[in-house]
Subunit: 316 residues, 2 copies
């Protein structure tokens, strides 16, 4: 049995949207998978009853506190030890659940990853990733998209390894091409960190490194399956992509390509490089987004993503 | 009389597109402005005659060599002393022309800026800028977009000053709001360089600093008129914007907002912080792009952009 912990109190429209997402997810999950809802028992039971989610279909893990979206994430995580996010991470650490997913405070979720869970052995730093839709119909993984503001060359190299494993394991790409985001194609382009990362990636046998990629190829596809960058640049890239999507949506531009940028289909941001599967959903998650967040968590467990990344780090 | 030097040999479709752009520009230039075409005299004369540009309307400055788009820009600039780009920069240095514009090799143009011209007194480094169209109908200036791969806090601060002057002088914005591109709004967000730049900008009386801006507001407008970032991040931003524009153009998405991203309207990239006005056009410049590159150069001279930036740097 795969046990997916879901923060029932996480997100702007919790617990309603979370419960609706859970109900939706059950149509797609393996029959052996079970959802563990973390949060206020009374409220959860009430909302589940209201929407007709049968009590045999979920387990409630009670948590008396909630970390609000406006609260300081670091302080809240340290002080609210009975918050749904704290309780979820502790349950994950104990092995009571196999993965934890929440659309709640991103900062508090990241605190849980680094304070309660551990970074995998041999890895300098965990990271977060996102998928960028390409015009050729495929998606490209980009990482780090914001966990680390300053990166060393070896961190970028390791993000390449992690991204490559994610692309194989989760996106079904046999031999993922890994590129380094840079401001020119030549090896001597960019910062000293980028230049050194290029050398490390190029000389590695664990990576199918295809060299530098510039951002003017970001949406066209055909160059790389995994794009490595530091968390500052990756965060800017991702937010700019969001800005583009929102802008064209507001302007009423309709196009199938544009619709692929809808975050709801991606189920949130997996945290990569920590000792258990964690997925962070968008704060404004709809039931569809929650469903996909849960499916992402289940797939991580089924495909042993954490174990594979750990093996790769030990085998370096 | 304003004398605008134009590299007749610069760009993928030179000299034809350059001459056509010059002809177009004459409908918009002040009657006192004259174009100085730099390049192969025979070829220029022939193409001008072919397109009916009256010889009273231009002066030819002969240059026997050309730096091709595929050539190594640094080596070419150092070796081809009689190239149109070298000759143009030397003429600019001597005061024989008041501005120089080229759609030729960007790298060679930047070499000219730093090897033949000088950085303005008091300024750590020159930079290049671009305008991003906003949904509210206005444009935002972003700088640096690629001249410097690594930036110190004071460089970012000075880019803010330069951007503010450009926005006043060239974009007609009375009291430009200057923001720092960062991965969060709070002052303690981002790299140490970003944090220190924040402090410098905040405590300056020469800037209308509005704080950090995230890339998810990039296209929406209403926050800032000038966005400061380091050359690596700025270059990625700009190229990602190009990628977006190309993608939607290819997909046949038509929208007035999208059409404002067409580079042809912006006339290229002004180099800011050097001792004379320089504009670098897009390699694939059409006659329309060449016209706007020339108009940008003329406006820089008329509005004394270089002098204003120099005054600000000396007054720091």
């Amino acid at each position: 049995m795969i046990r997916i912990g879901v923060d029932a109190m996480g997100g702007d429209y919790a617990p309603e949207n979370v419960i609706l997402g859970v109900i939706d997810a059950y149509s797609y999950l393996d029959s052996e998978t079970k959802i563990f809802l973390v949060g206020d028992q009374e409220k959860i039971t009430e909302v589940c009853r209201h929407y007709g989610l049968d009590s045999g279909n979920f387990v409630v893990i009670h948590a008396s506190q909630t970390i609000g979206m406006g609260e300081h994430p670091v302080k809240s995580y340290l002080q609210k030890s009975d918050s749904s996010i704290n309780v979820g991470f502790n349950k994950l650490l104990e092995g009571g659940i196999d993965a934890f997913a929440s659309a709640g405070s991103t900062g508090a979720m990241l605190m849980g990853c680094v304070r309660t869970l551990k970074t995998l052995k041999g890895l300098l730093r965990p990271c977060i990733s996102a998928q960028i839709p390409l015009a050729n119909g495929k998606n490209m993984l980009i990482l780090d998209v914001g966990l680390n503001t300053e990166s060393k060359p070896k961190m970028l190299y390791q993000f390449g390894i992690i991204g490559s494993i994610y692309a194989k394991t989760m996106m079904g790409i046999a031999n993922p091409r890994v590129a380094l985001l840079n401001i020119g194609e030549e090896r001597e382009k960019g910062t000293l960190v980028a230049q050194e990362a290029y050398r490390m990636m190029e000389s590695s046998e664990d990576l199918n490194f295809v060299g530098n990629m510039e951002a003017n190829s970001l949406f066209s596809g055909g160059i790389a399956d995994v794009l490595v960058t530091d968390g500052f640049v990756g965060n800017v890239c991702l937010k700019q992509t969001e800005s583009m999507y929102e802008m064209f949506s507001k302007l009423g531009v309709n196009h199938p390509f544009l619709s692929r940028f809808n975050y709801e289909y991606y189920g949130g941001t997996p945290v990569l490089g920590v000792t258990a599967p964690v997925v962070i959903g968008h704060g404004a998650s709809t039931p569809l987004a929650i469903r996909n967040m849960i499916l992402e968590a289940e797939k991580s467990v089924k495909n042993k993503l954490v174990e594979r990344v750990q093996d790769a780090m030990l085998g370096q």
